[in-house]
């Protein structure tokens, strides 16, 4: 329904931020994971957002095209007692910086709130339009 396009745009923004939050939560949870199904430590994941043009309108929503892995190198920590240490005694920890993830977390939260605000403004504009001629 075309009259609700703007709501769908806001909804897509919220969905994208929710997914980003999921990815960040996964990164934080796995910030010390040294074993994965594919072998090696966990790699930091990053969601990729893309513009999603909506039919018959000039507005565009957002969609998550895929979740990619951060190619940056792993964190090496010297700990020969660790079972996953290599022959030199170094353990590869995931390339997740928890501090950075926390910043991203707040970013995602604020973006979500911004989308909610956009939604609320749209709604209050429609409600004001319904009040035309009532005063």
């Amino acid at each position: 329904m075309s009259e609700f396009t703007i709501f769908n745009v806001s909804a897509s923004g919220m969905t994208a931020q929710r997914l980003r939050l999921d990815v960040i939560a996964s990164n934080i949870a796995n910030s010390e994971t040294t074993r994965t199904e594919r072998g090696g430590p966990y790699r930091r994941r990053v969601p990729i957002f893309a513009e999603h043009l909506l039919d018959k309108s000039r507005t565009s929503a957002v969609k998550v095209v895929r979740i990619e892995e951060d190619p940056s190198p792993f964190r090496l920590v010297y700990d020969p007692s660790h079972p996953d240490a290599d022959e030199n005694g170094y353990v590869s920890y995931p390339n997740v910086n928890v501090l950075r993830e926390m910043v991203d977390l707040i970013n995602a939260q604020r973006s979500y709130e911004a989308n909610v605000s956009a939604f609320n403004v749209t709604k209050s504009m429609i409600n004001s339009a319904l009040q035309i001629g009532r005063g």
Partner: protein, 97 residues
């Protein structure tokens, strides 16, 4: 009828002009019925979303809330239009002949 709420861009103006020249004005009852059907559909969507959420099919709460908001706004819009038109009708009926 509900389409009136989307911004008054050039496309809408064009549509209005087209409507004027090409099509004869449809029956009021028809318009109202169409609008009610639309509102009904939106309400059904919202209901479906709510039950899907309860069943655990949807993990995004905002989708349910937004669908419910759409339903509320559509209903308000339709009742508002109905009220205005019924008022106009009453005005005509009160006319002294």
């Amino acid at each position: 009828m509900i389409d009136g709420i989307s911004g008054v861009g050039p496309s809408n103006v064009q549509k209005l002009q087209q409507d004027k020249t090409l099509r004869k004005a449809p029956d009021f009852a028809e318009i109202l019925k169409e609008a009610f059907d639309k509102v009904n559909q939106v309400q059904k969507n919202a209901e479906q979303m709510a039950s899907d959420f309860a069943l655990g099919k949807i993990s995004n709460i905002h989708e349910v809330i937004i669908e419910a908001e759409k339903a509320t706004i559509a209903l308000r819009l339709t009742t508002e239009v109905r009220n205005r038109i019924v008022e106009a009708y009453r005005e005509i009926m009160r006319m002294q002949l």
